[in-house]
């Protein structure tokens, strides 16, 4: 019996597997069990248009993923309230990529081949976007995305980046930062200290890549004295020694290549050793946390592409995103319920795909792509002209915002500032 | 006098302060059953552990045939043809009875063109475990585990087998069977080192005795002589006076 059962179980397991194979041939063929699909044949115009994408709903990137989820949901609601797309309702098929590029790639494959989505929208996070873009490329799908930073790496002609910093983003972002501080004229910083998270996005802006100079190089080119260059790992937990090194170097401008919660932790450590930054810049901090850092964060600058203020509120949808996102975020219980750059980018990405479809008048990926490269797109970031000569990147829309009196306000360039506010 | 198959020269094994073996010089002759006896704690099991390479001696040398083995890895010792059983059976608990025996047949000296499965079955039949071949070793009774220990050691096709209290815990009928079994092992031409407390069995089986007490050898020779030796009697029964 004993022997019998072992043989039986081995055979059984194999028989089971082959049966599955046979079964999936018969049963899940024809009409798929998932009855909600069927948009791909574009037959009935009542069928919703399905837009597929993933976001980091769990894992290390999930904090920002959550913002994009809320913003996206609000956009889809807004769109459907305003007649949908091509007269059809829009349905967002959102999957979790767990902040993991492999999951992201698999999920985009699933969206295309199983969920039969009509359109794609990119995930959050450079790694996930890069992995997903490969899938989009293999399927020749239009791929608008909001936040990939490694501009040099992308050459897919149907990807539409909304992180509007130009193809030389590491240079343009850097130049913008120092241009902003140059406004201070005599009081402009002469020395700069770099403290950079090893995350690819922050690392790229700070250190560049082969032919693309980063902030450190730009600073040197501009004659600033780089007095400190420190990299720290993702998930760094001890800020004291880094703070000490900053204090010892005593830079005029503290340039922090920060992500998420890095900035407030660093600022706390700095204030504990009694060093106050004269000028401080933070690349991609979680804005709520930076504001929560209190007095030490006063005067901190950061990059932005959208803030809930003029002129952005006058841009296409600028008012809507601010109001709707804030309402939704408050309801969800986010501690910082202000629509800023991430929410704006999310909205702009949706505006891009919407404009492409409406402009092309169809769901044909080639036509959408053609429309997008040939026309200006109105977004909450302003007017965007995707330039196929530059891998669809375009001019630099990056602005600098600063915490003044406990609130973020745009201080550079002048055409983005509300009422002549200047950097201090 | 037949040739020695195993010879120890002044083997010593210490554990911390304890001298478990103290300069023991012992030899086993080809084809004999040597009884290794002594009261509890006298160092018999330590001796077997040292001989099998399970423990490394603290001093002295061990030769098996012409090969010095006290410096070899245990699996090399096994390959030379030295096998053992364990006092408390240590079967490979997640393997079947047959697979336990196949381990011996698959390695070292026993590794031949013959299928270890076939030879393994033969050894199981030999010790009387043929019907339990497919049972999990864990499910065996103590007696069967002892039999398995034997079969497993035999499956290595040893030239010398060391049996560590194979009779302990068995009932009289089982003991009788085991004694017959050990005789038939000798008849296969395998030398046996037999560690046992059951003196009736020792007397009945052994060609020679080697007596240890507190890690030291106190007597050696044919059973009748050795067992009437006063030092041995004292060792077992305690001396009447200090």
């Amino acid at each position: 019996m004993k022997k019998n059962s072992r043989a039986f179980s081995t055979l059984g397991s194999i028989a089971a597997l082959s049966l599955i194979l046979a079964a999936c041939g018969t049963s899940s063929g024809g009409t798929d069990g998932n009855s909600s699909t069927g948009g791909s044949d574009a037959g009935g115009s009542e069928d919703p248009i399905r837009v597929g994408g993933t976001l980091a709903l769990s894992g290390p990137l999930a904090a920002t993923g959550e913002i994009h989820r809320l913003a996206g949901e609000q956009y889809v609601e807004w769109l459907n309230d305003n007649g949908g797309l091509l007269g059809r309702e829009v349905e967002w098929v959102l999957l979790d990529d767990e902040s993991n590029p492999q999951t992201s790639a698999a999920a985009y494959n699933r969206l295309i081949s199983q969920e039969n989505v009509d359109l794609l929208i990119g995930p959050y996070g450079t790694a996930n976007i890069t992995a997903a873009m490969d899938v989009a490329e293999r399927n020749e799908m239009v791929f608008p995305q909001h936040s990939a930073t490694l501009t040099y790496a992308y050459d897919y002609d149907r990807h539409f980046p909304l992180f509007a910093s130009g193809i030389d983003s590491s240079r343009t972002v850097s130049e913008t930062i120092f241009d902003a501080y140059a406004e201070l004229a005599d009081e402009a910083p002469q020395t700069v200290g770099f403290v950079v998270n090893q995350n690819p996005a922050t690392d790229f802006i700070a250190h560049g890549h082969e032919d693309a100079p980063g902030s450190v190089q730009v600073a040197q080119e501009r004659g600033l004295d780089v007095v400190l260059e420190v990299d720290f790992p993702q998930g760094n937990t001890d800020w004291g020694p880094i703070a000490q090194r900053i204090k010892d170097a005593d830079p005029d401008l503290l340039w922090v290549g920060a992500l998420g919660g890095d900035s407030p932790a660093l600022l706390a450590a700095l204030s504990q050793i009694g060093w106050e930054p004269r000028h401080q810049f933070h690349l991609f901090p979680a804005p709520g946390l930076l504001l929560g850092a209190g007095e030490v964060a006063e005067g901190a600058t950061s990059t932005t592409l959208y803030e809930p203020q003029e002129p952005y509120l006058s841009f296409e949808g600028g008012q809507d995103v601010s109001e709707m996102f804030t309402a939704a975020a408050e309801e969800a219980g986010l501690p910082y319920a202000v629509a800023e750059m991430q929410a704006g980018l999310s909205w702009a990405t949706w505006q891009t795909i919407t404009a492409g479809v409406e402009g092309a008048g169809s769901l044909d990926q080639g036509e959408i792509a053609d429309y997008l490269v040939n026309n200006s797109i109105e977004t909450v970031l302003g007017e965007i002209d995707f330039d196929p000569e530059q891998n669809n990147y375009y001019g630099d829309l990056v602005a600098i915002k600063q915490i003044q009196d406990g609130e973020f306000t745009v201080v550079y360039p002048a055409d983005k500032t509300a009422d002549g506010t200047t950097i201090n | 006098m037949s040739t020695d198959i195993l010879r120890t020269d002044a083997v010593t094994k210490t554990f911390g302060n304890l001298r478990a073996l103290d300069q023991v010089t012992m030899s086993v002759r080809d084809g004999e059953i040597l009884g290794l006896v002594g009261p509890n704690g006298s160092g018999k099991s330590t001796m077997i552990n040292v001989l099998s390479g399970f423990l490394r001696p603290s001093g002295g040398q061990i030769h098996f045939g012409d090969t010095r083995i006290d410096t070899l890895a245990p699996h090399r010792v096994a390959e030379l043809g030295l096998a053992r059983t364990y006092q408390i059976p240590r079967p490979f608990s997640t393997l079947s009875t047959l697979e336990n025996v196949m381990v011996g047949g698959s390695f070292g000296r026993a590794r031949t063109d013959r299928d270890p499965r076939t030879t393994g079955m033969q050894w199981l039949e030999f010790v009387g475990l043929g019907d339990q071949a497919d049972d999990a070793a864990e499910s065996l009774t103590l007696h069967q585990r002892k039999q398995l220990e034997l079969a497993r050691a035999l499956s290595c096709e040893p030239r010398l087998i060391m049996l560590d209290e194979v009779l302990a815990g068995l009932n009289p009928t089982e003991i009788e069977g085991a004694i017959e079994l050990i005789k038939s092992i000798r008849d296969l031409g395998i030398a046996v080192v037999f560690v046992e407390h059951n003196m009736r069995a020792v007397k009945g089986l052994c060609d020679r005795l080697f007596v240890l007490q507190s890690g030291q050898q106190i007597a050696e020779g044919d059973p009748a002589t050795v067992l009437s030796d006063q030092a041995v009697i004292d060792a077992y029964l305690g001396s009447q006076h200090a």
Binding site: - | P39, N40, G169, M199, S214, G238, Q240
Partner: protein, 234 residues
């Protein structure tokens, strides 16, 4: 009165003890003799509550002990000096002793018991902060006995106390058993040193293959060839 009635113990399917009945008084030294594997250790371990019985009972003054969780038996006044000492080798001598009194609560009494043990074994006092695992065999046996005495036992079960001891120390060991007995503690001693054991015991039992082969007074056993037979087959 410590009694064992119709006790049977099995390891899985293997029988270790069958229908054993013995009794002893607090004033006695009782020997349990027999060859290796006869079931002596099983008997004392069952009495100490370490091994569960399949049937039969251990009774202390008529009250069954077998229903108690094993960690409560010691509180009833039965302490074990196990075979191979089984000290907590990584604890110091003093700590081993204190653990013996774990079932007691009265600190001053524990102190007094400890003093008694140190009086009995002055060497242990000198070595009190040494790890038990580093002591010599004889000293370890002292700790084992001391530890058992710390439980303030009425009955002490000693499993092979002379095992692995140098001959000179063996004599001390037997003297010690007598002294323990003189403290008013009943001693059940399992021994292979038959000669010395029979010198000090009042009565004895001989086990063979898990059954009771013989019982009797010291004199009766001394005259019996069964004992000699059991050990040396002669």
């Amino acid at each position: 009165m410590l009694e064992v009635t119709d006790l049977s113990v099995y390891y899985g399917e293997a029988r270790a003890l069958e229908d054993i009945s013995i009794t002893m008084d607090q004033g006695e030294v009782v020997a349990v003799l027999g060859a290796n594997g006869a079931g002596k250790s099983t008997l004392v371990n069952t009495m100490a509550g370490i091994i569960p019985a399949r049937s039969g009972q251990v009774l202390l003054d008529g009250a069954p002990l077998q229903r108690l969780a094993s960690h409560k038996v010691v509180g009833e006044g039965i302490a074990l000096v196990p075979e191979g000492r089984m000290l907590f080798n990584q604890l110091t001598v003093a700590q081993n002793l204190k653990l013996g009194a774990y079932s007691l609560d009265d600190r001053s009494e524990i102190g007094a018991l400890q003093q008694t043990v140190y009086d009995l074994f002055p060497i242990l006092h000198d070595r009190r902060d040494q790890k038990a695992g580093t002591l010599s065999g004889g000293q370890q046996q002292m700790v084992a006995i001391g530890r058992a005495l710390m439980a303030r036992p009425r009955y002490l079960l000693m499993d092979e106390p002379s095992l692995g001891l140098a001959p000179i120390i063996v004599d001390d060991m037997f003297d010690l058993i007598v002294r323990v007995h003189e403290m008013g503690i009943g001693v059940l001693v399992v021994e292979q040193n038959v000669a010395r054991t029979l010198e000090i015991c009042d009565r004895g039992y001989v086990l063979e293959q898990g059954t009771l082969a013989l019982s009797g007074t010291r004199e009766e056993l001394l005259g019996s060839s069964a004992v000699r037979e059991a050990y040396l087959a002669m």
